[in-house]
Amino acid sequence: MADSTAVEARDGAVPIAGRTPWQITRARLTRDKVTMVALGAAIFFILLALSAPLMIQAGWIDPYTAHSDLVGGLGSMPIGPAGGVSWAHPMGVEPGTGRDIFSRVIAGLTVSLIVATSAVLLSAVLGTVIGIISGTAGGRIDWFFSRVIDFVLSFPQTLMLIALSTIVIDALQAAMNTDRTAPSMVFMILVMGFFGWPYFARILRGQVLSLKEREFIEAANSLGASRTRIYFTELLPHLWAPILVYSTLIMPQNIATEAALGFLGVGIQPPTPSFGSILNDSVHYATSDPAYFMFPGITLFLVVLSFNLLGDGLRDALDPKADRQ
């Protein structure tokens, strides 16, 4: 019999080459223009956020220096059109202090993205571990973790954040012995990470439950593979897809939560800028200096939008049932 893997070329037909799942995903992604743009934007924002501290050190952006000559009149409003826009201050200046809004938005982006990304990582790790254990163990352990998930999901996250903030941040500050910025960020990462893991755990548990019945798991089990090997070598490669997708979908939610906290006065303390505190202040000037709200608001919108679109696009690209060849 002829070798079944060899395909004879006949009448100029092209041999079909096998493709790995990642190659299929990449092909789908590159075809989807909207998602590619979103990916580019997300990478751009992440790079911007990461380089902000360096830019501040180098003096390229300056979120802290007040320019009292750039504001004036009753209310210390920005001098110049659109909230004091100029070449030196492309997004205008802040009423009352004259601080550069462009610099503050970038610095705020750093804080927002660090907090959001770390919280997502924490949620993903915790959620994956618990989801896998719960899915594979079954029985009483599964029942227990499912109830824990239900319990945590029904907790009002924002209320807890507000109620616990002062006490926990004070304690963290005493332990870390720094100013309040780092403890505030740690607090938000811990709380958002803690309230985010059930979301992952549920989804991954579902995936694991369906994978568990597959033949390759049965085969691995019967060959005597250890638990660890099953988790990491057999199951995990099939779980990357949902982990990745839901991470990118939770990112914008975390960014928005951090902004909401800043808006409510909890969270990062001044003079460190954060999206929430900037938007909080700008809302009061809605009628007298709308540019002060528009610039940070649009920036936040674009950041959240790009992560949302990226997540959607990834989900479509990774979906094995989509046959868009």
Partner: protein
């Protein structure tokens, strides 16, 4: 006074505006019903009061907030004396008789004061206001467990012995412990009321302008439940109930006799609607827009920073006057950093007040100062700024280096969190950090702010506090001892109003010496000197700015004049609406 406490004595009379005061000025009431002055064309209409701040108390002995002192006195709580209305924003007003026949007679040694009540004073149910009603009202201040929130001048001034822990031996009219002691200090003889002072007190008749010295009917007293159960002896009474965060309506009190109130309350509007369901920003938008009923509206709320840019469009309808408030910093004498004299000096030298002024909205909103005492008071010493408007970080750094502390010196600074102060302190931080400090800003929410400062554990957490104070009445004896006399303020329960635990025996001795000076002018001057000493010699406080008030009123409102001597708000005594 604390952040919102204003100069005492609020007479609530609604008078017609300047334009109409010429004609029919104040009716010659015959003591019958309907208090509308006959013939005055301004009588009538409904005045609206828009408020973004919930009223905490209307109970006269519990009122300590300027707005409620002004409204309470002018509408329904008459006092023995008060400060009369003025005709122009910012004019000085004089102490006049209100429920009494004159501003009182003091004995030669200043330890006894006598007042005679006017005839014809009536409560809203027609019963006469008696000397016993005043005596009872003042005694309620001593029930410190029930009647909370009000000023404690009665406890301080009257000659009633104190317990070892500083509390009065008289426990108020509910418990009646020590009632005989009170009866000896406040005596009624027909219409004459006599007060015995613990110390010679030349300005007692000014303290009487606070509603805490108003009359109260014993049979109407429900203790804590009387908080919003207004029972009036003034031109207006409450119609129905008062609802927190919504407000209430005031209608004419048919038993108020305008003949007993010729110099103060004009009482022109027929009705006053108080709406406290709004926010500062919304109500200012409405006042500036000036539509419909808002044309008949006034407010006691300050223009928020964010409305300032639009205020200019309300031509001829806004008042910009000095307020009685000073904002300042108190270093914590118990902290390691600020128990060091040179560290406090360095802080004072590097404080950038111009950043405060800009962040707050310009010098029409706040003005830099270096005195705790407000410029409106005769005692104002006008202490010159140590290092100019902007401070001198270089000079401060040199002083700090000589202090023997390792730079950068970490300091925890507490302030009341809001957007404006966030910006203010960002600016102050820049100046301090340039002088070698490492400033850590901690914004504390408004509801917990002063209680946090007054809690004993805060002494170990913070190095510097922001605070505000305004004189309760135009004597600096309501400023210096209230903030800097460790003996009356500091106790096991906390620092009182001496948030920084400043305790200096020499300074306290000088306070006593000053309080004993009988000549009013000389006494006020001496208070001013103590103020300068506290700021420049001990660095016990760092005064920052004086608030300026900015108010807008509707176009139909007349006679809304800001009375800077008496609380600093629109005086309801003279306000009216065109109709």
């Amino acid at each position: 006074m604390k952040r919102v406490k204003i100069v005492a004595g609020v007479a609530t009379t609604l008078a017609l505006g300047l334009a109409l005061s010429a004609c029919g000025g104040g009716g010659t009431g015959t003591g019958t019903t309907s208090a509308a002055p006959g013939g005055a064309t301004g009588a009538g209409g409904t005045l609206y009061i828009l408020s973004g701040t919930a009223t905490e108390h209307w109970d006269p002995q519990r009122v300590y907030v300027g707005v409620n002192i002004e409204a309470g006195n002018r509408l329904f709580t008459r006092t023995l004396t008060t400060f009369g209305p003025v005709s122009k924003d910012g004019d000085q007003s004089t102490l006049v008789a209100d429920a009494a026949t004159d501003t009182g007679t003091a004995s030669a040694d200043g330890k006894t004061w006598k007042f005679t009540l006017k005839d014809g004073l009536k409560w809203q149910d027609g019963k006469p206001v008696t000397c016993e009603d005043f005596k009872y009202g003042i005694s309620r201040t001593f029930a410190v467990d029930v009647i909370t929130g009000g000023p404690n001048y009665a406890i301080q001034y009257l000659d009633i012995p104190k317990n070892a822990d500083g509390s009065s031996k008289y426990a108020g009219p509910y418990k009646k412990t020590g009632q005989d002691l009170y009866d000896k200090a406040v005596m009624c003889d027909g219409n004459t009321i006599t007060f015995k002072m613990a110390k010679p007190s030349g300005d007692f008749n000014m303290a009487l302008t606070m509603t805490a010295f108003g009359a109260f009917r014993e049979d109407q007293d429900q203790g804590d439940k009387s908080n919003f159960a207004i029972f009036s002896d003034g031109p207006y009474m409450l119609d129905g109930e008062w609802t927190t965060n919504k407000g209430g309506t005031f209608v004419r009190n048919p038993n108020w006799d305008p003949a007993t109130d010729t110099t103060i309350r004009k009482a022109y509007p027929d009705k006053i609607v108080w709406d406290e369901s709004l926010t500062q920003e919304t109500l200012y938008e409405r006042l500036i827009a000036n539509q419909g009923d808002d044309q008949n509206a006034i407010t006691f709320d300050q223009a928020p920073v964010t409305a300032l840019a639009n205020v200019a469009t309300a031509e001829g309808r806004y008042s910009n006057v000095a307020s009685p408030y000073t904002r300042y910093l108190t270093p914590n004498f118990k902290s390691k950093v600020f128990s060091n004299d040179k560290a406090r000096e360095a802080l004072a030298l590097s404080t950038d007040r111009s950043a405060y002024v800009t962040a707050a909205g310009g010098d029409q909103v706040v003005k830099a100062t270096n005195s705790l005492i407000n410029p409106a008071l005769p005692a104002f010493p006008n202490t010159p700024l140590l290092a100019g408007d902007k401070g001198d970080p270089a000079k401060a750094k040199a002083v700090l280096e000589s202090a023997g502390l390792t730079l950068p010196v970490k300091i925890n600074v507490a302030y009341r969190k809001n957007d404006t102060l966030d910006k203010v302190f960002a600016g102050l931080k820049t100046g301090w950090d340039a002088a070698g400090f490492q400033t850590n800003l901690i914004g504390i929410p408004a509801e917990q702010y002063y209680s946090t400062l007054q809690s004993p554990d805060s002494a170990s957490k913070y190095d510097l506090y922001w605070a505000g104070w305004g004189a309760d009445f135009p004597s600096a004896s309501t400023v210096i001892p209230q903030l800097l006399d460790s003996r009356s303020q500091i106790s096991a329960g906390g620092p009182g109003q001496d948030y920084g635990y400043f305790a200096n025996d020499a300074f306290n001795a000088e306070i006593d010496k000053t309080a004993a000076i009988t000549d009013g002018t000389a006494r006020e001057k001496a208070w001013g000197q103590l103020d300068t000493e506290a700021v420049t010699k001990y660095y016990a406080v760092i005064p920052l700015i004086n608030d300026q008030f900015l108010f807008v009123h509707g176009s139909n409102v007349d006679g809304a004049v800001v009375n800077t001597t008496f609380t600093g708000y629109y005086d309801l005594a003279t306000a009216s609406v065109k109709h």
